[in-house]
């Protein structure tokens, strides 16, 4: 199915800051407050049937972006428009009817399934939350969902511990699709799984996308997975999008040095695969009160004075391919 022009989700200048808890004494001494900039002015949109891959290392804010678009964490500022409806300041009661159409699959299938609930009760939870009580309807929907993810309806009676990691993740996916949503956030859905099981799940997710006309936001740190699954990808670094474009263009012609670093670190099975020379950073990167200039400048081998002074804006370097770098396209690590 082709990606349509109709935008299902638009996020505008989304900001999420977490205050850092400090001791009373340090509050007395220090005047500036410490704030974690998990998301800073992030704007993306996702069209119907489209998959947007969000790539970044741990701490880049990619999970916060996924949670904030569903309002599972409250954004500090910004605007979220889902299906033409501004949900940014909607009350939780009103949000219920919208939430039916937006779901999430978490990274760790073990901790995201209630160990004391039968698979049936886990899978129909989104329906119950939407107010459906008729048992017959619940059973029909659960059966359809569990079959769609490649499990059998007899397994609805079992408990989560009776399944393997890959099967548990299938249950999570069944729960996500049971209410016939339009949009699903996939937060590292395969990173805790074996390569073979990962491949099974990725093909399943693509099949479901075609069948149900779903839009995905796929959060991952694995560039190969993002490239294989996505129409467009957004690369995040310390709470900012540093590159955005079609999966083919970003992978084929990465403009930002950080994207280049990530791409060169991907190890694909092949005879010519070599380890890249990744520069070592002495301090762990932190998004507590980040510097004014380019956030990547501390790690960037091409950093100049201007990079420390001025923060680069996300500009369109080539058609539909954006990068936030003063020297976008003119530097190359590869």
């Amino acid at each position: 199915m082709n990606v349509s022009d109709r935008v299902i989700l638009a996020v505008n200048n989304l900001v999420k800051h977490y205050p850092v808890r400090t001791s009373f004494v340090s509050k007395l001494k220090r005047h500036t407050k410490l704030v974690v900039h998990a998301l800073d002015n992030v704007s993306v949109s996702i069209a119907e049937n489209e998959t947007l891959g969000v790539i970044g290392e741990s701490g880049s804010g990619k999970t916060t972006l996924g949670l904030a678009t569903l309002r599972l964490v409250e954004p500090t500022s910004g605007k979220i428009v889902f299906n033409g409806l501004d949900i940014t300041s909607m009350s939780y009661t009103d949000l219920r009817s919208v939430r039916k159409h937006m779901q999430i699959v978490f990274q760790d299938p073990v901790s995201s399934l209630d160990p004391r609930k039968r698979v049936f009760d886990i899978v129909v939870e989104p329906l119950r939350a939407a107010g459906i009580k008729d048992h017959g309807v619940l059973v029909d929907n659960a059966t359809e969902a569990i079959r769609a993810v490649g499990l059998s309806e007899s397994q609805l009676r079992l408990l989560p511990y009776q399944f393997s990691g890959g099967q548990k993740q299938r249950i999570s996916i069944a729960r996500a699709i049971v209410a016939k949503p339009k949009f699903i956030v996939l937060d590292e859905p395969t990173s805790s799984l074996d390569a073979s099981v990962q491949a099974q799940l990725l093909t399943l997710l693509q099949k479901l996308q075609r069948e149900f006309g779903l839009s995905y936001m796929l959060i991952t740190h694995n560039f190969s997975v993002a490239k294989y699954m996505s129409d467009r990808v957004a690369v995040m670094y310390l709470g900012k999008i540093v590159e955005l474009g079609s999966a083919e263009r970003v992978a084929g012609n990465p403009l930002h040095p950080y994207t280049q670093l990530l791409l060169s670190s991907v190890l694909e099975p092949g005879v010519s695969t070599r380890l890249p020379d990744v520069p070592l950073q002495e301090k762990p990167v932190s998004n507590i009160n980040p510097p004014h200039g380019c956030r990547f400048s501390a790690r960037c081998p091409f950093a100049k004075d201007v990079c420390v002074r001025e923060e680069p804006a996300l500009i369109e370097v080539e058609p539909n391919h954006y990068a936030a770098c003063h020297f976008a396209g003119s530097v190359s690590m590869m």
Binding site: A195, S196, Q200, T203, H221, S224, Y228, V271, P276, V278
Partner: protein
């Protein structure tokens, strides 16, 4: 690299005593690791690769485990030794690093102290007996034994400070003085894994068993850690048994590869042959599972999952998931036999 054999297992089987009886997690494994080589052990979870890795230095609890066959290391069969005798070969003979550094490090000890411990301790039991004497406990007025251990570790660190700092800079830590006084939770995953490696190489092991050392790390950190391991191998002349499920990692660092499925080795060859021309359908499936290219391409994953321990199918254990299965596979279990080019494969297609 010369051809000196560092470790050789001969028909090694490892079984767990469970309520359902004795279940063999590793069966009839003949593994040879030579000096200075990175030998990769590849397979999905549940294939027995971690059991094999841990059993090499007998790290599995003795009362739960049954061994058959031999683990030949420095001319000694480790299977026949008593626990106290095996201890002599741990640390300076065979050292192990694990997947998640944060769970392998002690959260209440500074990393410098932990490294100092690994520098000096030969046997946990004698160490414990020395630290925890009834007299010492009396003076502490019932404070925990933990307090004793912590105090002991602190003094060890002060005594061996120079060596600890050298080790930390060996693993690429720029500011060893500061890092040695930090706790594991203050360090990132990559830094913690460096600390683990520093502990493992403290006694200059002959063989390093690395059980998924980079699986929990970011790709950029993974590249750094693998580079570090590579340079340490060259410097120390160490051998590494690298347990992983990531064939990308194997392609980048391994010399030889053993592929494990359901407790048995199904293919063994040098890196180039395995990656370029895999023989066993399982190896081929693993390589095909790697997402390559963009959305237009189609992945052909191996269907199904690894059968649980003790419920292996008759015949070839891979046959229910194999795309090239034929009648013989369902009945006769293939043996690991020589194929062309010094490689071994266990599959009826090649006999």
């Amino acid at each position: 690299m010369n051809n000196e054999v560092v470790l050789e297992t001969q028909g090694l089987s490892v079984g767990y005593k469970t309520r359902k009886g004795l279940l063999w997690a590793v069966e009839d494994v003949n593994l040879v690791v030579r000096r200075g080589e990175v030998h990769a052990l590849v397979g999905e979870s549940g294939c027995g690769k971690s059991t094999l890795g841990l059993s090499l230095s007998r790290l599995l609890p003795d009362f739960q485990v049954v061994y058959r066959g031999k683990i030949m290391f420095k001319g000694v069969d480790l299977v026949r030794l008593k626990e106290s005798e095996v201890q002599r070969y741990r640390g300076n003979g065979i050292a192990t690093i694990f997947q998640e550094p944060i769970t392998s490090l002690n959260p209440v000890m500074r990393v410098g102290e932990q490294i100092a411990e690994s520098l000096t301790i030969r046997s946990i039991k004698t160490y414990w007996d020395k630290v925890y004497t009834p007299e010492a406990n009396k003076h502490l007025f019932g404070f925990s034994q933990g307090a004793l251990l912590l105090g002991r570790a602190r003094s060890l660190y002060i005594k061996h400070r120079e060596e600890v700092h050298t080790l930390l800079s060996k693993v690429g830590i720029q500011d060893p003085l500061r890092v040695a006084n930090m706790y594991p939770h203050e360090l990132s995953g990559g830094m913690n894994q460096r600390v683990m490696i520093a502990m493992a190489i403290a006694q200059r092991p002959t063989l390093l068993v690395a059980d998924e050392p980079t699986t929990a790390l970011d790709v950029t950190t993974q590249a750094q850690i693998l580079r570090l391991l590579g340079s340490l191998i060259r410097e120390y002349g160490m051998s590494v048994l690298l347990i992983t499920h990531d064939l990308g990692v194997v392609s980048a660092v391994a010399n030889r590869v053993s592929v494990m499925y359901a407790g048995r080795i199904v293919e063994e060859a040098d890196r180039k042959s395995v990656i370029e021309n895999p023989l066993h359908p399982y190896t081929r499936g693993l390589i095909a599972s790697f997402p390559k290219g963009t959305k237009k391409e189609v992945l052909n994953p191996i269907p199904g999952t690894v059968p649980p321990l003790g419920r292996y199918p008759p015949g070839c254990r891979f046959h229910p998931r194999c795309s090239q299965v034929f009648e013989k596979c369902r009945v006769v279990e293939p043996r690991l036999t020589e194929a062309t080019g010094g490689r071994r494969v266990a599959c009826h297609l090649y006999n």
